[in-house]
Symmetry: C2
C-alpha cells in the first residue's frame, strides 16, 4: 500500500470543480482510494458561512451563556445557533457541544470548522457527504473517502474518520472467518473507511500546507463481504444512552 | 508513505525472539515504523493461558450468570474471572464487559482474545505494552507501535489502535499552528500512533493469514512537538463519568 499527498492543489473556492482539479494533478486508476478532506468538499460546495447568517434563538443564547459562564470565555450565541441547525441531537450541552451532526455521525460542534476558512467565519460540513463522495467517485472513476478529524471517548487526541465513501463498503465483514486454528475471529467488522481516513490524515494533516487530498494506491479491500453501516443508532449505542442521562453540572442525572 | 506486511513469519511461540524473527525477514531503517499485533507480542511473552488458571470468585460467577441470562448463551465464569483480573475498572457490566485494561486503555473483555490461540484457551494482552514496545524498538533499531483492534462508541466496527509505542510520541501537537489564514487550528492533538495502527490493520487484518507485523516506511512525524498521553483519565472523560452512573438493566442509574 502506498499513500501520498496530491500536490499542487490551489485553495478551493465555492463552485469550483474539485474532481477536475484533482484529476489534473494525477493520473488515477480505478482501484485507487482518493481521500478528500471534508473541508475541501465543503468549500467547493459553498458551505462557508458568516455567523450573521445564524441569528440566535433562545436555546442557542442559553447554551452560549452557560458555556461562557463555565469556561470563562465569551461564547458566540450565533455559533451555538449554527451548531443547533447543523445537528439532529445534542448529546452533551456542557462543557462543550457534542452533537449528532446532520450526516449522522457524532462529533463536537456539528463538525463546524472555525479555522481554514478564508473570507468567512465558519465552514459547515458537506450537506450530504455520501452523495458528495458518490459524485466525486463517478467523476474520478476511483473509490473515494471523505475524511474529517474527530476526538473520541476513552482516548486522547483526534484521528481521521470517514464521513462519506463511495466505491467501497464502509467495513470488511470478518464474521465466520476462521483463524489459523479454525476458531471464529473475535473481530467482526473492520471499519476500513475510518482506517483509510486515518492513513490520509497521517499525511495531509490539518495545517497551513493545504494538502486536502491523499491518494492511497495498491490497497485491496479483499474477498470479504462488505458492510455499509458506520454510524451507530442510539439503540445499539450504550454510550449515547448513558450520555442522555448525564449532565456535567451535577455530574449526575439530567433534569 | 509505504506500508507492507512483513512476510514469512512463523506462528509465534512462548519465549521466542520476536525481534529476531522480524529482523530476519526485512532490512530495517531507523525511520521505519514497525507495527506489531499485540497477539504476536503476547504469544512471545507467554501470555497464552488456560481458563482453569482462573478459578472464579463470587463476583465473576455473578457477572457470568447475569450475562448468560441476558444473552441466552452460556458464559464461562472463568472467563469473567480472567477479565476481572486483567482490568482495573469495569465500566459496563452488561450486556458485555467494558473494562479499563491493566495497560490503561478502555476495551471489551480486558482485551482478552479467544481466537488465534493455539494450544490454549485465551490470550491475555502483554503485561506492559509500553515496555514491550521499548524492548522491540531497542532490538530492531526502529520505531515500534504495538497494535490491537477495538470497537468504539458512536461508530460501528473495530479499527486498529495503539496500546504501546516507542521511538515516537503518541500524538502530534498542532496547538498554536496557524492555518493558511493565520488562525489557530481547531485540531490540537493528532493521535498518530492510532492512525499508524489503523494503517497496519488495513494490511495485516486479524485473519488466518498470520500477518502480525506491518512495516510502515517513508512516513515522517514532522517538526511538530510530540505528546505522549493517549489514554484518558476518568477526570477528563465525560463518557466514562456517564457510564459509571448507567446500567443496562434499568436503562438508568446504577444501584
Amino acid at each position: 500500500m502506498n499513500a501520498a499527498v496530491v500536490p499542487g492543489l490551489p485553495e478551493i473556492r465555492a463552485g469550483e470543480d474539485l474532481a477536475g482539479l484533482i484529476a489534473e494533478q494525477v493520473e488515477l486508476r480505478p482501484e485507487d482510494v482518493v481521500c478528500v478532506a471534508s473541508t475541501a468538499v465543503s468549500k467547493a460546495e459553498g458551505r462557508a458561512a458568516d455567523l450573521d447568517a445564524f441569528p440566535p434563538g433562545p436555546r442557542a443564547t442559553e447554551l452560549a451563556d452557560r458555556l461562557s459562564a463555565l469556561t470563562g470565555e465569551e461564547k458566540d450565541p450565533r455559533f451555538a445557533q449554527a451548531v443547533l441547525e447543523e445537528s439532529t441531537e445534542l448529546l452533551i450541552e456542557s462543557p462543550f457541544l457534542l452533537t449528532e451532526a446532520r450526516p449522522g455521525h457524532v462529533t463536537v460542534n456539528a463538525g463546524i470548522d472555525r479555522s481554514n476558512v478564508p473570507d468567512a467565519d465558519v465552514l459547515l460540513l458537506p450537506e450530504r457527504p455520501m452523495a458528495s463522495a458518490r459524485r466525486l467517485a463517478d467523476r474520478l472513476g476511483t473509490r473515494v473517502v471523505i475524511t474529517d478529524t474527530s476526538g473520541r471517548p476513552f482516548r486522547h487526541g483526534q484521528r481521521g474518520v470517514a464521513i462519506g465513501w463511495a466505491g467501497l463498503p464502509a467495513a470488511r465483514d470478518w464474521r465466520g472467518e476462521p483463524d489459523r486454528e479454525g476458531r471464529e475471529l473475535s473481530v467482526t467488522m473492520e471499519a476500513v473507511v475510518d482506517e483509510l481516513a486515518g492513513t490520509a490524515n497521517l499525511l495531509g494533516g490539518e495545517g497551513a500546507e493545504g494538502t486536502p487530498v491523499v491518494l492511497i494506491r495498491d490497497w485491496t479491500f479483499g474477498e470479504l463481504a462488505g458492510d455499509d453501516e458506520l454510524f451507530r443508532a442510539v439503540e445499539t449505542d450504550f454510550v449515547r444512552q448513558a450520555l442522555r442521562q448525564w449532565s456535567y453540572e451535577d455530574g449526575g442525572e439530567r433534569a
